[in-house]
Each structure stands twice: as structure tokens, then as C-alpha cells.
């Protein structure tokens, strides 16, 4: 590779990473400060370093159970979303059928409604079903925006795989399920990794629906966080600590799917 071009790329990348990390650094920085220090002075490092904000979160059940609840319904949601989206995306990428284009676009339209619109109807629906304040209710509600996303992403990746590969496999005597799992899935690993990560991410940060459908047993961390606004003012330090901790599970998820995203297409397998 051309040396100068390589340098330009690296400089651009480093500049972007700095831009990406600075606000996050500021949050981490705040999480080790006291509220009075945050509001009174500007400093690159905490002057009175404290673990208190993290202690609050790890010792108070109403805080840490928020993380557990979120992880449960986000996990359920991600698994269902990707599992139902895989066959559907294959159908959309490989076959024509009655109304295929309309259904494909209709799926995406479900992401186009401001979530606030769905609050009251969802509340009524899940109350009628007796599913309020359960993890499964939130997981199901989040399918509304995650399934269409997963189908679209996976379809994009599947369409990039030449159809000759399917045909060769059928001629070689593979059954559809065996072909799908043994040959096709490895080819679209990158897509599955990205789709799973995005489903996780969108479900993890969604606030309005999760807050409306839960009260105690399944209360997610994003809803617990809104509690930091109280009569005595904003609890910036605890919010920053909680915010720092909300990044951790997602960072672990992307660490695990990184190979799927980075490796992508491996022609050698077929």
C-alpha cells in the first residue's frame, strides 16, 4: 500500500476515534467525581476520586436488578429476532412470491412510527393479555422494530451471495436445512453478527416502551436511570456511573461477534 495514503487513513481514523471517545471519557470522568465537583469546576481528572457512585449501583437492588432485567429481555428479543428473520430474509433474497415486495417494505414501515404513538395501545394490549411487568412483554414489544431491521440487514447480505452456491449444494444432495446451517450461514456470518448486535443495541437503549410495560419485576436499567432526576436536583455522578456501566454488556457482545463482522466471506468453504 502507498505509504502516504496509509498515513492519511490512519490519521483520519485516530481523529475519529478521539472524537468518539472524548464524550465517553467525560462520562467516565464524571462517574468518579462527586456531584459538587462536577458542577463546580473543570478538570481532566477527578480531584477527589471516589468509587461511591459505583457502590450505590452495586449495593442497591433497585439499581443492579435493572441491569439483570434489561439483559433478560434484550437477550430473549435478540434470539427471537434473528431466529425468525433468517428464514424470512432467505425467502426474500431468493424467491418471488405473492406480495413479496409489499411485505418487505411493510416490515420496515413498522419502524417509522414514533414510539410514543404506540404507548397507550400497547399498554391496553398487554394489560388485557395479563402480561404487564414481565420480561417477555418487553421482548415481544421490541420485536416490532427489531425483526424488520434484522430481516433487512440479513436480506442485504444474502443477496450478495451468488445463487449458484445454493444450486450447487442442492445438486450435491444437501437438504435445505442442512444446506442452510452448514453452507449458507457461515457465508453470511458478517450479516448475522451485525444484525444480532443491532437488535441487542436497539432493544438495550429503548426507553419509552420498556418503561411503559414494566413497573417493578422487569424494570429495565434505562427506566431506573430516569430516577436520578429528583427534587433535590440532578444526580449527575450516579447517572454517569450508570451510563458507564450500560456500555459494558454491549461492548462484550460486540467483542464476541467481532470475528463474524470482520471475517465475512470465506470462499474457501464452498
Amino acid at each position: 500500500m502507498d505509504e502516504r495514503r496509509f498515513k492519511k487513513r490512519t490519521i483520519f481514523l485516530i481523529a475519529y476515534l478521539l472524537f468518539a471517545l472524548l464524550p465517553i471519557y467525560w462520562m467516565v470522568n464524571m462517574s468518579f467525581k462527586t456531584n459538587s465537583e462536577i458542577l463546580s469546576s473543570f478538570s481532566f481528572f477527578p480531584q477527589q476520586f471516589t468509587w461511591d457512585n459505583y457502590k450505590t449501583i452495586f449495593t442497591d437492588a433497585s439499581w443492579y436488578s435493572g441491569y439483570i432485567n434489561s439483559l433478560i429481555y434484550v437477550g430473549i428479543n435478540t434470539v427471537i429476532s434473528v431466529a425468525v428473520a433468517l428464514p424470512a430474509a432467505y425467502a426474500f433474497s431468493r424467491y418471488s412470491f405473492l406480495g413479496d415486495k409489499h411485505v418487505f417494505f411493510w416490515l420496515l414501515t413498522n419502524r417509522m412510527t414514533p414510539p410514543a404513538v404506540f404507548l397507550l395501545p400497547f399498554f391496553q394490549l398487554y394489560t388485557t393479555l395479563g402480561m404487564m411487568d414481565t420480561h417477555i412483554a418487553v421482548a415481544l414489544a421490541h420485536l416490532l422494530f427489531n425483526v424488520p431491521l434484522a430481516v433487512w440487514i440479513l436480506e442485504g447480505f444474502m443477496s450478495g451471495i451468488p445463487r449458484e452456491i445454493d444450486e450447487t449444494a442442492y445438486i450435491d444432495g444437501y437438504s435445505f436445512p442442512r444446506f442452510f446451517v452448514m453452507i449458507f450461514l457461515p457465508l453470511i456470518k458478517a450479516g448475522v453478527g451485525v444484525a444480532a448486535f443491532f437488535c441487542f443495541m436497539f432493544s438495550w437503549v429503548e426507553l419509552l416502551l420498556a418503561r411503559t410495560l414494566t413497573s417493578v419485576n422487569a424494570k429495565p436499567i434505562v427506566a431506573t436511570m430516569t430516577r436520578t432526576v429528583s427534587a433535590s436536583g440532578m444526580d449527575w455522578a450516579t447517572l454517569a456511573a450508570a451510563g458507564t456501566l450500560t456500555i459494558v454488556p454491549g461492548a462484550i457482545v460486540i467483542w464476541f461477534v467481532r470475528h463474524y463482522i470482520a471475517k465475512g466471506f470465506a470462499m474457501g468453504r464452498v
Binding site: D2, L13, A20, T109, N110, G160, W236, G264, F265
Partner: protein, 294 residues
């Protein structure tokens, strides 16, 4: 051409039920509200399209709509090229690749209300890094005082928050291009730009379309971050459509007009996405025929 196979519907059915379960009933409820005047849960009057007519005449709504369009277009104009550039410059292998991937994804994982809160502090001239740095550089910056500063801060916050989505999609798209294409290009002695223009860009078209549509519709519905950061101000500078809708629905508790507003809102997004989608499809088609003839 794809073979016709009606049995493929069976593969789609699970998705259809999952989404229809959560989508259709709520949508019917909203349509139902939008044609009634709900005075109390027991007393409702059918008013037909009255609310729709009222919403269409709403001057403030028109302003919010134009502000929204401007913002969404700015978001696309910055985030899509930046995301592609970022994906192209991310290392493809080794621990560096993993580290960069994780760092890039971090901003996506922060709950939206926290994003707003962090930037609220981050942008303050007395205690925030961004505000303090700008002040130190001699820029008179205040996101609470100046409309331009507030608008730019919301835009930069959105770029910071969401460019990784474009970058990750584009990066995964790039990684799934078979090596054979690059080898062929090397044999042909293709320039870096030619490789980008005739191999990488067309191969990324699918994921980029998703990125464009997602960023468009999500930025069109942006609510939490500007609400927390600026509260829509100063004045109305950062009051986008969603916030105006919420002001109407919650502030005045008018379910009927709010429902009519929601439906019109939804139809606007639908129409714009439909145009974007078809335009990008047509671009792709034109490119393919050109490749066949040329």
C-alpha cells in the same frame, strides 16, 4: 430473475405474525382515536377528518416539519460519507481491528437520555470539555444561548452517536466482498478509486440502502437527545417534529388531534422513505445495466 415460489411464504410467516401482533392492533387504535373527539373515556364524538384538517393548517407544525427535513438531510449528508470513510479506514485484521470495532460501537450503546445528559455537561463552557475548549479557542459558544450553536450541537451529537451505525454496516459489507474481486482488480491494474467506485460501492449498495433508510427515519423521529440537551430551544430552534407532537399529546392531552398528527407524521416518513428506496433501487438497476453494456 428470482424463481417464483409461493411456498417461500412459509419462511416469512413467523416474521409476519411477530410483527403483525405488535403492529396492527395499536395502529387500528390510533386510527380510531384520530376520527373522534374524546372528551372522557365514556364520552366520545365522531368528528371525521376534522382533526386532520386542523393539523394540516397548523402553522407551527409546518415550521417544525421544515426544521425536521433540514436536520434529517444534514444528518444524511454528514453521516453517510463519514461512515463509509470510516469503514474504509478501519483495519481489517488483528487486534487493532477488534479494538477499533469495539471503540466505534461504544456510542451506540449509551441510552439516549444519557447521551443527552452527557452532552449537556460536555458542551458547557464552565465544566465541559467541548465548551471549555471552544471558549479557550476564543469561540463564543453557548448551546443554550444561540440557536445556531444549539442546532449544530444537536447535529454533532447525532453524528457522534449514529455514524458508527453507518460505519459498522459499511464495514461488514466491505468484509463480505470476495477476495476474487480484488484479485481481478489488481490484475487489471485498477486504481484505488476505481476499486472503490466499481467494486466496493456497488457491493455495499445493499447495506448502504439500509443505513440511509435507518438514519433517515430515526433522525426524522429524533426526540430524546434534543429534548434532554436543549429542551427544543432556544426559542424553537431545535424543536423537531416528535417533540412538537409530544407537546401536543401530553401538554394538552388531546388524544384525537395527537393521533391524527401521528398518522400524518407516519405518512410523511413513509412517503419519503418510499421515494428514497425507489430512487436507490433505480440507481442500482441503472448501474447494473451500464455494467452489462460497457
Amino acid at each position: 430473475m428470482k424463481p417464483v415460489n409461493q411456498k417461500a411464504w412459509f419462511l416469512v410467516l413467523p416474521v409476519f405474525f411477530c410483527v403483525a401482533f405488535s403492529a396492527i392492533l395499536p395502529l387500528m387504535t390510533v386510527v380510531n382515536y384520530s376520527v373522534q373527539d374524546i372528551i372522557s373515556p365514556e364520552r366520545r364524538v365522531f368528528v371525521g377528518v376534522e382533526w386532520f384538517a386542523a393539523v394540516m393548517r397548523d402553522q407551527e407544525l409546518h415550521e417544525a416539519l421544515w426544521r425536521q427535513l433540514g436536520f434529517s438531510l444534514a444528518v444524511l449528508a454528514v453521516e453517510i460519507p463519514l461512515g463509509i470513510a470510516l469503514a474504509l479506514s478501519m483495519p481489517a485484521q488483528g487486534w487493532k481491528s477488534s479494538a477499533v470495532l469495539v471503540i466505534v460501537a461504544l456510542s451506540l450503546l449509551i441510552p439516549w437520555n444519557v447521551v443527552g445528559t452527557i452532552w449537556q455537561i460536555f458542551g458547557r463552557a464552565d465544566i465541559g470539555l467541548l465548551g471549555a475548549t471552544l471558549q479557550w479557542l476564543g469561540v463564543d459558544y453557548s448551546y443554550t444561548g444561540s440557536s445556531t450553536d444549539a442546532w449544530l450541537t444537536v447535529l454533532i451529537m447525532d453524528v457522534w452517536h449514529w455514524t458508527p451505525l453507518v460505519a459498522l454496516l459499511a464495514f461488514a459489507g466491505l468484509r463480505s466482498i470476495p477476495d476474487a474481486y480484488y484479485q481481478a482488480a489488481r490484475i487489471d491494474g485498477a486504481s484505488k478509486f476505481a476499486v472503490f467506485r466499481y467494486i466496493q460501492l456497488p457491493k455495499m449498495r445493499g447495506v448502504l440502502m439500509i443505513a440511509v433508510l435507518l438514519r433517515f427515519m430515526d433522525s426524522f423521529m429524533i426526540y430524546t437527545e434534543p429534548f434532554v440537551l436543549t429542551g427544543g430551544g432556544p426559542g424553537n430552534a431545535t424543536t423537531f417534529l416528535s417533540q412538537y407532537l409530544t407537546q401536543k399529546a401530553v401538554g394538552q392531552f388531546d388524544l384525537g388531534p395527537a393521533a391524527a398528527f401521528s398518522l400524518i407524521y407516519f405518512l410523511i416518513i413513509l412517503l419519503l422513505c418510499f421515494i428514497l428506496y425507489n430512487w436507490m433501487q433505480a440507481l442500482g438497476k441503472a448501474e447494473r445495466t451500464e455494467a452489462q453494456h460497457g
